[in-house]
Subunit: 299 residues, 2 copies
C-alpha cells in the first residue's frame, strides 16, 4: 500500500553551535515522505515556488516519491530559519517567509483520493481537514501538529482530531492541550477527543503509544552525537506510517513495530543536517538499528 502525505515543503536555514546550513530541503511533508519511502510508495502533496531547486525534486525522485500532487506556483518557496542552543533541545525561529505557502490549498489529484493510508503532517489544521474532505474511505488517518496550532487554531484542531485514527503530538503539546502534567492521564483525555491511537513524543526519551491494546513505551535510539534534530518528529511519524502501510494484518498487531522503525529513521535524521544523513541510509542499516533497539530494551 502507498501512503499519502500532505504537509509543508520548505527550505530550511539551520544554525547550530557547530555549523550553519542555508536553504536545505525541509518541511514536515519532505521529512515524512523520505522517511516513509524506505517502507512503502509515497504520494506527496505540497507546494513549492519557482526558486525550488531542481536537485530537491531529484532527491524526492530518488526516493520514488510520487510528485503528482506537488504544486509549483509563481513566487517563493516557504523559507524557515532557526537556531539551536548548545544542547540541541531548544531552538528559536529567526525568520519565517511563507511565500507560496501563504495561500496554499492542498488539492488532491483524483488518483490520490482513494489512498488507504493518509498522513496529515504538520500544517494548519484547517488544511489537514480540507484534505480529509477530499478523501474517499481511507483505512487509517494520522495527523501531527505543533504548539502554534494549539495557540491560534484550537477549534479547527479539535474538529480534525475527532476524525483521526492516530494523533501524534509531543509531551509539552499534550500537556498544553489537556492541562494535565501527567502524560498517562493526558493520553486518556486525548482519546476522549476522538482518536483510537495516540502517540506522545518525548524527543530523546522516546515515545508512548496508547491504543486498544494498552500502552507501549517506545525507546529512542541512543545517539552519541546529535547534529541537527530538525525534522526528527516528522521522520518518526513518516517512518511509522510507511511501515504500517507496508505491513500485513491488523493495525493493532503492527503499530509497535512501526513505531520502532519510525524511531530508528528519526535517529538517522538527527545525525545529519536536514535530510543529509537520512537520504544516504540503506534499508539494511535501518533494519540493523531496529534490531539493536530490541536488544537495548530486552531483559
Amino acid at each position: 500500500m502507498s501512503v499519502l502525505i500532505v504537509g509543508s515543503t520548505a527550505l530550511d536555514s539551520i544554525k547550530t553551535p557547530h555549523a550553519e546550513n542555508p536553504r536545505l530541503l525541509g518541511g514536515s511533508a519532505s521529512y515524512a515522505a523520505v522517511a516513509a519511502s524506505f517502507f512503502s510508495p509515497v504520494k506527496l502533496v505540497g507546494v513549492v515556488g519557482e526558486d525550488f531547486p531542481q536537485r530537491y525534486v531529484q532527491l524526492y525522485r530518488r526516493h520514488r516519491i510520487d510528485l503528482t500532487g506537488l504544486q509549483r506556483l509563481p513566487g517563493k518557496t516557504f523559507h524557515w530559519s532557526g537556531e539551536y542552543e548548545a544542547n540541541m533541545n531548544r531552538r528559536r525561529t529567526l525568520l519565517t517567509e511563507l511565500g507560496v505557502f501563504e495561500t496554499f490549498t492542498p488539492t488532491l489529484p483524483a488518483a490520490h483520493q482513494g489512498a488507504q493510508f493518509v498522513l496529515l503532517a504538520n500544517i494548519a489544521p484547517s488544511l489537514q481537514h480540507h484534505v480529509l474532505e477530499q478523501m474517499q474511505r481511507p483505512r487509517f488517518v494520522a495527523a501531527d501538529t505543533m504548539d502554534l496550532w494549539l495557540n491560534v487554531a484550537l477549534p479547527d484542531l479539535l474538529k480534525l482530531v475527532k476524525r483521526l485514527d492516530l494523533f501524534v503530538l509531543n509531551d509539552s503539546e499534550a500537556q498544553q492541550l489537556t492541562g494535565d502534567d501527567n502524560l498517562f492521564t493526558a493520553l486518556k483525555k486525548i482519546h476522549r477527543l476522538g482518536p483510537e491511537y495516540v502517540v506522545i513524543k518525548k524527543g530523546s526519551h522516546g515515545s508512548i503509544l496508547s491504543g486498544p491494546r494498552g500502552l507501549f513505551l517506545c525507546p529512542a535510539y541512543p545517539l552519541r552525537k546529535v547534529v541537527d534534530p530538525t525534522g526528527a518528529g516528522d521522520s518518526f511519524i513518516g517512518g511509522m506510517m510507511g511501515c504500517l502501510a507496508a505491513a500485513k494484518g491488523p493495525i493493532d498487531s503492527q503499530i509497535r513495530r512501526a513505531m520502532i522503525y519510525g524511531s530508528v529513521v528519526a535517529s538517522f535524521c538527527c545525525e545529519g543536517f536536514g535530510l543529509g544523513r537520512t537520504t544516504r541510509v540503506t534499508r539494511a542499516q535501518i533494519d540493523q538499528r531496529a534490531k539493536e533497539l530490541e536488544r537495548l530494551t530486552g531483559f
Copy 2:
C-alpha cells in the same frame, strides 16, 4: 546472599500541593533497605537519635532488616523537610537538621565486614569510603550520590568512584560531573573514572545502564498519579541490589532484570507518602508489575 546497606536514616517532613506529612521514616538507607528486603536479607548501617519512634524500628523489623549496625545515639535524629511543586518534578528543602548524623561515622559490626553485596546509599563520599575500608572482599559494591557531594566533596567522590563496581547517579548529576550534555558520551566518561557498570537515572523517563554487554534502556513504570517521589531513586538502587544479591549466575546476566525490579519498587514508592505504599506491597504485586513492564516494552 544478603545486602549490606549504609546511608542516612532520617525523619522526613514532606509537603506536596495536596498534603503535608510530618516526621515520616526517611533517609537513603531506609528507602533502599525496605526495597531490597523484598528480594534478599538486608543489613542496615545508620544512626538515629533518642527521638526515633519505636514504630519505625518495628517497620524495619517487619521487613526482617538486621539492625545490628543501627546506632542509637544521644541527640536528635536527622530531620529533613521539603516541599514539592505542582508537577512533582522540583522540590525545595525547607529545613535540614543533621542531629546525630552530624558526627556519624559508620562502624561495621564484625559480622558485616564480610558482606558480598554492598550498597553505599547516598551519604557523604568520605563516609562511603570509610565503609569500604572496613570491608574484607565484597563481590559487588554500588554507590549512589547527590549533587551536593559533586559541589562540596568532589575529590572524595572521585576517590570513591574508582573503587566501585556500579555507580548510580541521575541525569543532571552525570552532566555536571562530566560537563557533557549527551548522556551516552557522559556514560563513557564515567566509566573512565573506574566503575564497570554505570546507571543514569532519568526519573519518569526510566534509566540507562552501561556495562560490559553495552547499554540497557530501562523503562519507568507508567504512573497515573505520583503522590510523593521522595526516595524513589533510593528504592530503585535498593531493589536492584536486593535482586542482584538474590540472583544466581554472573552479574552481567542478572543486572537488567535487577534494574526492572528496582524500577518497579521505585514506582510503588511514588504512589504513597514516604514508605507508606512500599511497606504495604507484596512480592506478588512486584512480580506482576515487572511482567507488565515487559509487556509495555516488547514488540
